[in-house]
Every structure is written in C-alpha cells, then in structure tokens.
Symmetry: C2
Subunit: 253 residues, 2 copies
C-alpha cells in the first residue's frame, strides 16, 4: 500500500511551491492534480503518471467520488501518490472528504501545506491584511451557495472581520457587495479583485463595495480572489499600474 | 539603492519555504530576520550578512523603529536585501509599517508570500479548516491586546466564523475560551493547540472551550496556534498519539 500526500501547489507561480512539495513531486509515482496547476509545477514530477482530476467552476468537473476511487486505486498500485491541490489543501480544498475516504480504507496520508491565494494576492498588492490600529482580524470564506444555502452562512464572518478574503466570489461579486453593505459594511469600503494572482496574466481591479454593487466586474478568465477592507485604501495612492490599466479598460468597454 | 524583499519563511520546517524564498536567500547580500527562523533556513543565505531583528513575546524585543532604520541602511548599502519573517508577511507580520517606511524613502519592495502557521497546524492535524456542510468560513485573528484594547476588537470575527485560528493566543487561552463561550460559542466546541507546528519539537493539545476556560494550558516554549471549531471534533477519533501523550503529561503534572 502506498502513501498519499495531499500537497498544496500554491497560488499559481511555480516558484511559490514549497521545497517539500517540489521534492515530493520529484519522487511521485503518480500525481492526481487540480485543473489549474501550472505546467512547470507538473513538470517537476518527472517520473510520475499525471492525472487531471481538476474541478473548475463553470467547466466540466470531475465528481468527488471519482477522485476518491482514483486515489484508492493509486494508493494500491503505487508507492508515492501525490494529490496536488491549488493553494493550500486545508482551506477550500475539499481535503477532508479525501482524507476521510483514504483513512476509511486504511491508507496512510500526509498533508503538505501551501501558500493560499489570498495571501499571495495581498503580497502582490503589497497590502498587509492585518495592520496595527486598523485590522486585527481576517475572515477567509467562500460565498458560493449550493442548494438551500443562503448568505446567512457566510455573512456573519465577513461582517465581524476587519479584512475579508473571498474565494470563488467574482461571479457573484455584485450580490456579495450588496449583502455586505446591507449587513452594515460601509459602502465606501475598498475592494480589490485579483485574478490569477502571481501569474504573468495577473489582473487587478481596485474598487469599492458601492461601485461593485452597482456594476459587476468584467468576466474573469482565471481564479479571482476578492479582498475587502480598509487596509486596501492605500492602494489608491500607491497607484499600481495594473489597477489603472484595468480601470481604463472597463471605462472604454 | 537596493531592493528589499519581504519574504515569508513559512511555519517552521525549513522545507516549507517556497522555492522563490530559497532562491532569494541564496542571492541575498543581507538578511534581517525574525527570532524564530530555523537555522537551516538561514544557512541558505550563504553569502549574506545575517541580522537578528526578531521580536518575541515576553522576550527582549527589537523596537520597530530600529527595524525600519536597519532596513533603510541595508537598502542603501546592499543590492539584495531580504527581510525574512516567520509564516506569511501579510498576516500578523507588521509588514505594512515596514513597507510604508521603505516606500517613503523611495526604496523598491517586493513581497514573497509564505505558508502561514494556522494552515501548517491544520496540515499537521490532517484537519481541513473548511468542510462541506460544517465550515465554510475561517477567521484568522490575534487576541493580544495593547493599551485600551478589548475583546470587542476580535470577538465578533471569532463568533461569526465556523472555524477560528488564533495566533499568539496561548498565554491568554483561558480568558479567550471564556470570552468565546460568553459570546455564544458552545462550551463543547473542540480546540486544538499546536506548538511549534511542523518542527521536531511540535506538541499538540486537544481540548474544548469549557476545559480550557477551567484550566490554562501548560506553558509553551515555542509559538502556539490555537484552532477552534467543530471541524476539530474528529481529532478525538483519529487519536493522534501526540495528543494523548500531551494529555498524559498534563494529568501527571
């Protein structure tokens, strides 16, 4: 029986992988990876069979049950099995379901943490999510709703925190902004949307809750992290060129 | 004028550094680092002058103003300046003050994200902080209070989130547990304290808010992450040996 490593691939750029993850990829016999892992990261797995079990919002997705079956099959056939997930496995990675399925089958597991997308986005913007006297709490959440779920499941966390990082939120950004304002966040609260953070194709949009409520952001081609909070106010004075560019492209559209 | 890289050193284990951080350390002329960075991580900075500007709770600390002066001095004298911070720079790293001081002096900066301690602790416990149907929001916060600050500054975020990761909280764990229960978190909510996550000397304590309120945890030698939430309930059945060991050592103490 092999061992399964749930490994965080980091936010996007191949060199934001950890040294441990890189070594495990080199040693892997088989890698079951998410859809959005960078080709250069996968190339580290020189001797491994690569299987894309990726799920992507709005695209054809692989059923979680299939992933479980594939992991069990791999662990029975190979010694070093890497399950490579975007970002960090323990935050919005559905890792628990996979860990539980493996544990139920008596298969050994280990988790290798990674850099999560929101912290990478903050690094790219050079904006700390915490700041003395301004922000001592940060909420990480995903507002994607399944059947029967409502904003009441994520809104209290967002309203209670000084800074908020929302994953998989761009498609519903206007509704989210409206819910936050209705819940009591000031309409002028700054918002940054960072698409494909740390990749060459990274795009940034700097706005406010009020503006976002009034107009949906342009469609994104890659994953977007939405950051909300007063800590982002200085982005305006920093005047990152990409923000300006993006704003121009919106105005001219 | 040199360039200053604010680099996350990750949670502790040297191989949880990113590839980018490792390359920057190798290229660095000078490294100004926190107190708790692993010696093997510092050893990557082969040609650099190493300066410990670390701050540690309860120990002699370096004034933030001294760190700013040291960064400005380094940027004027050296080409590649690395400011190495434990975990991720943008979460409880006081990075903004340093970035602002450098920006005011016209010095170029770049931030390299890292693996933050709470996600490393979750990986070590093999417990995802989010779980379908159980936890879709996570609050990251530090309850350390300065002059005039009260629990009202961090409590709403903790109460609004399904899972909570508290940094620099172990010393005040009983009071924090009391505040969370008083605020409405069920007294039976599971808690995990992870000390020196990912290092060889890692220790874990599994308890509940009620038990923690009644009795303070044993004193810690290294940094502790406190995780709170229903996602941690399964830790009991997983019966990680280190938990049992620790509980034994508490009982026999």
């Amino acid at each position: 029986m092999g061992k399964v490593y749930l490994v965080g691939a980091g936010p996007g750029a191949p060199d934001l992988l950890t040294l441990r993850a890189a070594r495990l990829l080199e040693a892997a016999d088989i890698v079951l990876h998410d859809a959005l892992v960078h080709p250069d990261t996968l190339a580290l797995a020189k001797k491994a069979r690569l299987i894309d079990v990726g799920k992507r919002y709005g695209k054809v997705s692989t059923e979680q049950r299939f992933i479980h079956r594939a992991l069990l099959f791999a662990a029975r056939k190979y010694e070093v099995v890497v399950r490579l997930k975007g970002g960090d496995p323990m935050l919005f990675g559905r890792a628990q379901e996979e860990l539980d399925a493996l544990a139920a089958a008596g298969i050994e597991t280990e988790v290798v943490p990674g850099v999560t997308a929101a912290l990478a986005a903050a690094a790219q913007l050079r904006v700390s999510l915490t700041r003395r006297g301004l922000a001592r709490t940060v909420a990480f959440l995903t507002p994607r709703v399944g059947s029967g779920e409502t904003a009441s499941e994520w809104l209290p966390a967002a309203l209670g925190a000084d800074s908020v990082a929302l994953y998989m939120a761009a498609g519903a950004a206007s509704g989210i902004a409206a819910a936050l304002i209705e819940g009591g966040k000031p309409a002028a609260t700054p918002v940054a949307l960072v698409e494909s953070a740390t990749l060459g194709c990274e795009r940034r949009l700097f706005t406010t809750l009020a503006a976002l409520r009034a107009e949906a952001p342009p469609a994104a081609a890659g994953p977007v992290v939405m950051l909300v909070g007063e800590v982002l106010r200085d982005c305006e004075s920093v005047a990152l060129p990409a923000f300006a560019e993006m704003a121009d492209s919106i105005r001219s559209a």
